[in-house]
């Protein structure tokens, strides 16, 4: 494949640069943004070294966001499947309903340190937009959220929530009208208003330092998980399963376990409705290395290097690229990446709701689907931890349609 060659070309010079994960990552942005990225990198390094920053963030995570989140043994699901013991890391119980708040609180504090009072963000499923709007309300900052029009339609409840919180939601009508297009528009805003504005990017994507910084703000998930599973089981899990759109919840759950080689790390991409380009967002199955929106990673693209359209029942998992650290974990074999179809995710949603009384977000349901698939193949000594990254209330519109639920 021609792409193998370009990958090696990049890796030769970049392997040890900051912001690189193996060959992946880097900074591919318009020059206008470089001063802001350098400032952010610097401020982040200073904040990392400042105990007061950590104290304030930890206090907000505990008292405002609701950390630590429980590690819950899904007993009925485990019994039904008859294999591995299944635990759920309940990030869905966090304030605003998903893991996204971890990163938003961290970057919100950073923006305040940098004296930037205007925040912009992109959102797919709306969870990052809601978390950003929430933090802006909390810190008294101006907030503009870019969201694809298709996603606004699919996740209307979150549009209302953002607007109620005081954020301005700007619909994006270019391209596929989903997450990728919202990021393009947010980048255009940032390049224009860079002197006054912080771009609160919502996943482990984009130019350095974002993939590293956003991962750091989410690694609390894996740290808690490790402590909790050792308390409950006295040993590490067989595998951790998490869905991967950009890859923030999964890297947050995986990161602490990367050195623990016996723990399998399983990322679940959106398999959508089929293998054809445009019908899914399985970057490792259908993509190849390329540069999109500031970073070098796996990208769904055609043979001219144009970025492909994607599909998933889950807004937010339908992104054409993937965080560069996942690309490195994929190539090294440290993490495994599989995909779950729209249908499997919908089945998993219903199953988890009816066996455990827990309604997962459609994104998180992809991870549940993979756990349902593999649990019966494992023994009762095995432990699976599913990172339940968000709750599904926001998806009721889609679920009502897809599942033909009766209303009033």
């Amino acid at each position: 494949m021609a792409t193998t060659k370009t990958e090696q070309t990049v890796s030769n010079t970049h392997m040890n640069m900051p912001g690189r994960f193996g060959a992946y990552g880097g900074r591919y942005v318009p020059e206008t943004l470089m001063a802001a990225l350098e400032e952010l990198e610097q401020s982040y390094a200073e904040a990392q070294a400042d105990p007061a920053f950590h104290a304030e963030l930890d206090s907000l995570l505990a008292d405002y966001a609701g950390r630590p989140t429980p590690l819950y043994l899904a007993k009925r699901l485990t019994e039904q499947l008859g294999g591995a013991k299944i635990y759920l890391k309940r990030e869905d119980l966090l304030h605003t309903g998903a893991h996204k708040i971890n990163n938003c609180l961290g970057q919100g504090l950073l923006a305040r340190r940098m004296g930037k009072h205007r925040i912009i963000a992109e959102t797919g499923a709306g969870q990052h937009g809601v978390a950003t709007a929430t933090v802006c309300a909390l810190f008294g900052m101006d907030c503009v959220v870019y969201m694809g029009e298709e996603d606004m339609r699919r996740q209307e409840l979150n549009v209302y929530r953002m607007r109620l919180l005081g954020a301005e939601v700007r619909g994006v009508s270019s391209g596929s009208k989903t997450l990728k297009d919202a990021i393009n528009e947010a980048m255009r805003d940032w390049v224009t208003n860079v002197r006054t504005t912080h771009y609160l990017l919502g996943s482990v994507l984009g130019a350095h330092p974002y993939p590293t910084m956003v991962r750091d703000f989410h690694k609390v998930t894996g740290k808690e998980l490790k402590r909790q599973i050792l308390e409950k089981e006295g040993r590490l899990p067989t595998a951790i399963v998490a869905c991967v759109g950009g890859g923030s919840n999964s890297i947050g759950a995986f990161y602490e376990f990367i050195p623990e080689r016996q723990v399998r790390l399983i990322g679940v991409e959106a398999g959508g409705r089929g293998k054809a380009l445009g019908s899914h967002a399985a970057r490792f199955e259908g993509g190849s290395p390329g540069v999109l929106q500031g970073t070098y990673s796996y990208v769904l693209q055609d043979d001219a290097g144009q970025i492909s359209l994607t599909h998933s029942v889950s807004a937010g998992l339908d992104y054409a690229s993937i965080g560069p650290e996942h690309a490195a974990l994929h190539d090294s074999g440290r993490a495994e990446y599989v995909s779950a179809s729209d249908a499997a995710a919908l089945d998993a949603t219903v199953r988890l709701a009816r066996t455990e009384g827990i309604l997962p977000a459609l994104g998180s349901a992809h991870a549940v689907a993979e756990a349902i698939r593999i649990a019966p193949t494992l023994s009762s000594h095995d432990i699976l931890v599913v990172n339940l990254s968000g709750r599904g209330d926001k998806d009721m519109g889609i679920l009502a349609r897809e599942l033909n639920l009766q209303g009033a």
């Binding site: 070309t9 970049h14 318009p30 206008t32 470089m34 001063a35 255009r188 390049v191 860079v194 390329g290």
Partner: protein, 260 residues
């Protein structure tokens, strides 16, 4: 051909290749050169032009939908080189189409086609090691963007890595027209001048004769993009070459600027 500006100020004209179609782009390019463009930037259409405003976004969308690929833009350059041997030809792209084509293969093909220089919008100097090696080996001029927000250290690196000319961005923002040029542009050119004797071209928002004249007092060349692409958008394919030629001549219909 090395890149040369014979007019004062020089004129760099950006075209989105394949908008409305490749044959028309070729005719527009020839008309632009004949009307006084010193350098043509042949834009490679990309699905995600995040540094561009609505005009070039729409042109890129049309060209991508029409199937224009990087290899077609190289072919276009080859035809233009044979039609107008003295014109400066620059390929202007986002990085992914070039990376996907293969850096080495692209540089060899572009050099063989007679391309003078390459500008990749999302390529910054720190990431450019391998990129510069391939351009140098093929004898292509790397052109980098300098921004009003660039630090002194960055401006120096940009000036040192560039050949042919340095492209100074007139303001923070995306491509597109604006009413007035801000003082940002003049300040940036003055800051850049400390680090280079290369011609400095100012672009982003340059759209009329007043802008070009004003730029002539402090810069070596003006880059006109969105205003030309908008002219093409408003014209039928048959009329577009003449419309663009008229527009370019109009940019020069002012009193001559004394040489710097």
């Amino acid at each position: 051909m090395p890149i040369r500006f014979t007019n004062k100020p020089g004129l760099v004209v950006y075209l989105t290749s394949g908008d409305p179609d490749l044959a028309t782009t070729r005719e527009i390019a020839v008309a632009a050169i004949d009307a006084g463009a010193d350098v043509l930037e042949l834009g490679v259409p990309f699905s995600d032009p995040l540094a561009d405003g609505p005009v070039i976004q729409r042109a890129s969308e049309r060209a991508v939908a029409g199937g224009t690929r990087l290899v077609d833009v190289v072919g276009l350059a080859k035809e233009l080189r044979s039609a107008r041997p003295a014109a400066g030809l620059v390929i202007f792209s986002y990085y992914n189409p070039v990376l996907h084509f293969g850096l080495e293969r692209f540089c060899a093909a572009a050099a063989a086609a007679g391309v003078d220089g390459v500008l990749v919008t999302d390529m910054i100097v720190e990431e450019a090691g391998e990129y510069l090696e391939h351009l140098h080996r093929a004898g292509l001029a790397p052109i980098f963007l300098a921004a009003p927000t660039s630090t002194e250290k960055r401006l120096q690196a940009i000036a040192e890595a560039s050949e042919g000319f340095v492209y100074a961005i007139s303001r923070t923002g995306i491509t597109g027209t604006q009413e007035t040029l801000r003082s940002d542009a003049q300040e940036l050119v003055a800051r850049l001048r400390k680090y280079t004797d290369l011609p400095i071209a100012v672009g982003f928002g340059v759209s009329n004769a007043e802008h070009v004249t004003a730029l002539g007092h402090f810069a070596d060349a003006a880059v006109v993009g969105s205003a030309i692409v908008a002219t093409i958008e408003k014209s039928s394919p048959g009329e577009a070459p003449a419309a663009v030629a008229r527009f370019i001549k109009g940019l020069r219909q002012v009193n001559p600027v004394p040489a710097r």
